[in-house]
Amino acid sequence: MSEQTIRTSSRKKTTPEQRRRKKTIQITLGIVLIAVILLVSALFQNTNPKAGFILIIGVLLGYTLQRSRFCFTASLRDPMLTGGTLLTKAVIIGLAVSSLLFMAINMSKFGLDLSAFDIKKVAGNVKPAGVNTAIGAFLFGIGAVIAGGCASGTLMRMGEGFAQQWLAFVFFVIGSMLGVFIMVPMDSVPILKGTAVFLPDVLGGWIPAVIVQFGLLALIYLLAQWWGNKKSSGIV
């Protein structure tokens, strides 16, 4: 708790009167926006009974991303660019918490002996793993750093008012269409298409998978800790 300091950006060149006005206008608009979100959720409910819930989870995801300045791109870029690993470590903590929760769901679905295992029913995404994953992730990593935001980060910055990310989004959409075309010939080559692999299924049960999964997460966390200490005094 002692780490939590109040960080507010200092704004120059505005009078206290202007600042008060700006504050009133923005907070009022914020409250109007809450009403709009609730109204839109209710409207979507007519088409899909889960739409309101999904939209509001999305709003909470966006709120959380913005409020905590969370950025997956920075978590990958900063260790190299600035030596900072605080965000990297936070991502690992997030993955560990999610792993635990998803594991509980999948254990209750498939049983501790995986007797009811079905790759199509895994909670979470088990996407095809192959050469395509490596190439795609590599290109994605370059793009995210250059554009200053990954998938979630681009959407978040669009909401924050960054024009650059609105432009990046347009080309993200165009790139996605190109990517679909590129995947058509790749889909006929097994190694380029990939195969979905659920680690407990191939490693011989939950126990080895848990050891590998949490062992790797712990190792990366310690590496990030060591790198952060080495590169700087550990501050962002």
Binding site: E3, K23, L55, I56, G58, L60, L61, G62, T64, L65, Q66, R67, S68, R69, T73, R77, M80, L81, L87, A90, G94, V97, L101, I105, A123, G124, K127, T133, F138, L139, F140, G141, I142, G143, A144, V145, A147, G148, A151, T154, R157, G159, G161, Q164, L167, A168, F171, V173, I174, G175, M177, G179, V180, M183, V184, A196, V197, F198, L199, L216
Partner: protein, 175 residues
């Protein structure tokens, strides 16, 4: 006056103060798991982008469903039935809500030609990369590794390598 001061600090405490990265990470995890529990489908972002592109083309009379790999996705598309569309809209609105309640919304215009090139190149690479890998940093990675997916781990290694090369390019050409 004293009460007014106190009110202001409460507002700052609840709406202005930033959360720690770890708080953010844990909350994102909990939200992502809630989504799966209720809908059965994990959080993703980019899976719908090509359909959005096709939808825009359809307004200009171009039938994107005839394109290779689209498989009639545009014709079948209904916004309210698409979880990815709903959460994407939610993320934009949620970030906007966060800056409005903190009274820190500010339109940031594009400052240089470099930023334009960066946005175009970066956007294209992310789009192509996400479709080839079958998911982005959310769908394949943040919803993948927790599902004990091999693809999630491969994605992590190679997005990191890509980010490393991207940082070099950023330093050389875009900063």
């Amino acid at each position: 006056m004293e009460e007014k001061e106190k009110k202001q600090s409460l507002w700052e405490f609840y709406f202005k103060r930033e959360w720690s990265y770890t708080t953010g990470a844990v909350l994102l995890s909990i939200l992502a798991v809630s989504l799966v529990l209720v809908t059965g489908q994990a959080w993703g972002v980019t899976g719908v982008f090509h359909v959005w592109g096709g939808k825009v083309l359809s307004w200009f009379g171009i039938n994107a469903d005839a394109f290779p790999g689209f498989n009639g996705a545009v014709g079948k598309y209904i916004f309210a039935n698409s979880q990815v569309s709903l959460t994407n809209l939610g993320i934009v609105l949620g970030a906007l809500l966060s800056v409005l309640l903190a009274a820190s919304f500010k339109y940031k215009k594009i400052k240089s030609r470099k930023q334009v090139v960066a946005a175009i190149l970066g956007g294209l690479l992310m789009g192509i990369g996400a479709r080839i890998a079958g998911g982005c940093n959310i769908g394949n990675f943040f919803s993948g590794i927790p599902a004990f997916s091999l693809a999630g781990w491969i994605f992590m290694v190679f997005i990191f390598l890509g980010a490393f090369i991207g940082s070099k390019m950023l330093k050389k050409w875009f900063m």
